[in-house]
Assembly symmetry: C2
């Protein structure tokens, strides 16, 4: 058994996969705040696979962890995991004694990219575009996660697409994330509510002008990210995941319509059929936990991770 843990801002999800890569068990629990609590959450999640899901935890040979923040995959060190109250933490070293097996750590979007790739069939080139508070992508080519020269591959959220666009939290103006990030949309919407982007979609349908502008901007931003990923890396498909994709087909329909509109005046862009190369990650897919398990199971973190 190989275990993967996706440490989210509010919930942690763990899966155990068998030798064929199939998910044998899956548990969820609340994430603690701060370095010690994050470590305890991960250990508890692995334990819960035994106590709650009936996995023989003695058969677990590796644990992979996906976590939001900057991750040095070579050392298992995490920095700037602000949503977890973690400034800096040698996470692999902190959990290995309790788990008793080798541990690998990866950024959660990159882990989700690996998991989404496996769920998608595990061949060719794929980008996973995470649309949550922020916007970032992971790129998997021939089963191998492309980390890039400095670990910033897939940072398409900070490609500027409009010099007169909104100020981005990164300091630039008109970044893709300033249009399509859930944090940026909620801030510009500025009204209370637990699901601000859903509220924006509803209000847009009711005719609210600001909501219509924000909803249109989300589609513009996601379509731009899809365009950048396909024009630059020429991936077969861009799979959309992350919190905002809970909006499902309401969001996907906006994005494919925007992609078609972008291509209307451009035979070149039409020839790329961008609108046919974007998909939603199936709702509820444990992509990040699965990807973390596959990353933990890899012999060499730089090498091929999965062929499905």
């Amino acid at each position: 058994m190989r275990v993967g843990v996706d440490v989210g801002g509010t919930k942690a999800e763990a899966v155990a996969i068998d030798a064929a890569g199939s998910i044998a068990a899956r548990v969820r629990l609340a994430t603690g705040w701060g370095p010690d609590a994050v470590v305890r959450t991960i250990v508890a999640a692995v334990d819960a696979l035994g106590t709650d899901a009936g996995i023989d935890t003695a058969s677990v040979r590796s644990v992979g962890i996906g976590i939001p923040g900057q991750v040095d995959a070579a050392t298992g060190r995490v920095t700037h995991a602000v949503n977890l109250g973690v400034d800096a933490l040698d996470l692999a070293a902190a959990v290995e004694p309790a788990l008793g097996v080798p541990v690998r750590v990866e950024n959660d979007v990159k882990a989700a990219a690996v998991g989404a790739y496996a769920l998608h069939g595990g061949s060719g080139a794929m980008a996973y575009l995470n649309i949550g508070t922020g916007v970032a992508a992971g790129i998997v080519i021939d089963g191998r996660l492309w980390r890039g020269a400095h670990g910033t591959a897939g940072e398409v959220g900070h490609v500027p697409i409009d010099p007169r666009g909104p100020l981005c939290r990164c300091g630039q103006r008109g970044c893709i994330e300033s249009f399509a990030g859930g944090g940026a949309i909620a801030q510009r919407w500025g009204r209370p509510g637990a699901l601000p982007v859903r509220d924006v979609f509803d209000a847009a349908e009711a005719g609210d002008p600001l909501a219509r502008e924000l909803r249109a901007g989300l589609a513009v931003g996601v379509a731009a990210a899809v365009g950048v990923l396909i024009l630059t890396a020429d991936v077969d498909v861009v799979v959309l995941g992350g919190g905002l994709t809970a909006l499902g087909d309401r969001m996907l329909a906006d994005v494919t319509a925007q992609l078609a509109a972008n291509a209307a005046a451009s035979p070149f862009l039409r020839s790329l059929r961008l609108d046919e190369r974007v998909e939603l990650l199936p709702a509820g897919s444990p992509a990040a936990a699965l990807g973390a398990a596959l990353i933990g199971a890899a012999r060499d973190p730089e090498e091929v991770l999965t062929h499905g």
Copy 2:
């Protein structure tokens, strides 16, 4: 010996490389117009390596060809090579009988990317950004040319960066190429002259408002392309080549200043040190011919091409 031929719009360049990948001979001749003349040019270029440069052409084991246009690398078929008067041509099949050795064909920018990578030392991940009439890139990762799922990897010239920007020849508005492509700049400049972009640079220094706008736009466009390539693929370095880089440090200084200006308000972007990750291809480097020779020499066109 392995031979590479770069078929340009006005001149063709051929190199012969030895087993170590070093250039043993180099010749140039004028390119003919139309399919038959292009085929004759390639055969003449290989012959000239013998007659003019003293290479024993009987020792040539392969020929690689770089050509501007859409290329199906698997079949050696070329389409839309408009600058050569070639609409469609089975180029590999057309030259193989005369050359008597296996022939591979690749798009000239992709061939130049392979050659630039070898010239640069042949390790890590590199993008070659060609700034000529149009703007396009080739990406080489760990010695392997990344062609992408549909052969469009590196088409960063058609990433839009300003919804109010100039109309691009591709039909979109505000593409990188509409700011940084030599064709677009010459068209907007609109005055006669053999070297319109050089004229623009000179006129900008003399204070001409349109020239200053076009020159600034060139830097904005190239800086945006560098940003897209590093944010998406996280290549170590972006090497600039193509006709406009004949402007040398005048152009590079504009681009690095623009990259620094882009990063001024963004700690995130500053942390990527984009302005230190862009270089000019050394003037006169036969990157495309060298890359074509390496591509022709590769055992499998999909596999590792060079490690320098």
